[in-house]
Symmetry: C2
Subunit: 142 residues, 2 copies
């Protein structure tokens, strides 16, 4: 039986980028589990808590997600009572509600744990380096 390391597809960036993403999402969801939110929702809340009134467009740029995805995330968080949308001309402004602000410390703590978790495995310097290499590639590719 082939070991995964023998697969010639491992030398493909598409391949390894996807695999890393799935693994990191799993780790992140574990880290944020105690907040009751999965990782994307957690990040979105932190972003809105940081800049109340931020617009979906900006969120989508910061999160590198499409506008429609952001609408969907906000919708659900609004329904659950974390956020509120206020129409402003052709824009929408997104505000945190009490429930979101109260969660902010827990969110940041989980986020620090996430960093700690992968840093312990990869080594802190290596983790930071990899993150920055990937981010460099993203800026070239998009």
């Amino acid at each position: 039986m082939l070991n995964k390391c023998d697969s010639k597809y491992c030398s493909c960036l598409y391949y390894s980028a996807n695999a890393l993403s799935r693994i990191m999402t799993r780790i992140a969801d574990e880290s944020f589990a105690n907040t009751g939110l999965s990782s994307s929702y957690a990040f979105l809340l932190m972003i809105v808590n940081e800049r109340p009134g931020i617009q979906p467009k900006e969120i989508s740029i910061q999160m590198l997600l499409t506008p429609s995805t952001v609408t969907r995330l906000i919708e659900k968080l609004e329904f659950k009572g974390y956020l509120e949308r206020k129409p402003a001309g052709r824009n929408t402004e997104v505000f945190p509600k009490k429930r979101s602000l109260e969660l902010n410390e827990a969110l940041k703590e989980s986020w620090r744990n996430l960093f700690k978790k992968y840093s312990e495995i990869l080594g802190e310097a290596q983790g930071v380096q990899l993150t920055s290499d990937i981010y460099g590639a993203i800026q070239l590719l998009e």
Copy 2:
């Protein structure tokens, strides 16, 4: 307005790994578009073409996907007439049909194009290096 580079979340591996994965999937899907398949299906076919009779478990290890995801991919490819499943005790053996074998050259060609596409943007050496760095991280993390 914040530029995406200013987001402090960019320093998070979860964040950049997911972003890279979405971008690479988009590029890969473009590359494989002429085969009529999206990238995961394309890779799965190449794997089965290479090793007729391979079992879903092995595919899931090679592709770093869960078994249930692999079942779903195979199901659809079987329905479309590319593959065939033969039960073998508790295992299943997956065989390519004519349609899949005929597509193999086009698949490989698309895959080479994918490599070329991101190599042109990142630089070939840098792309290879990044892929290998990511793969190293994957092996530590899982």
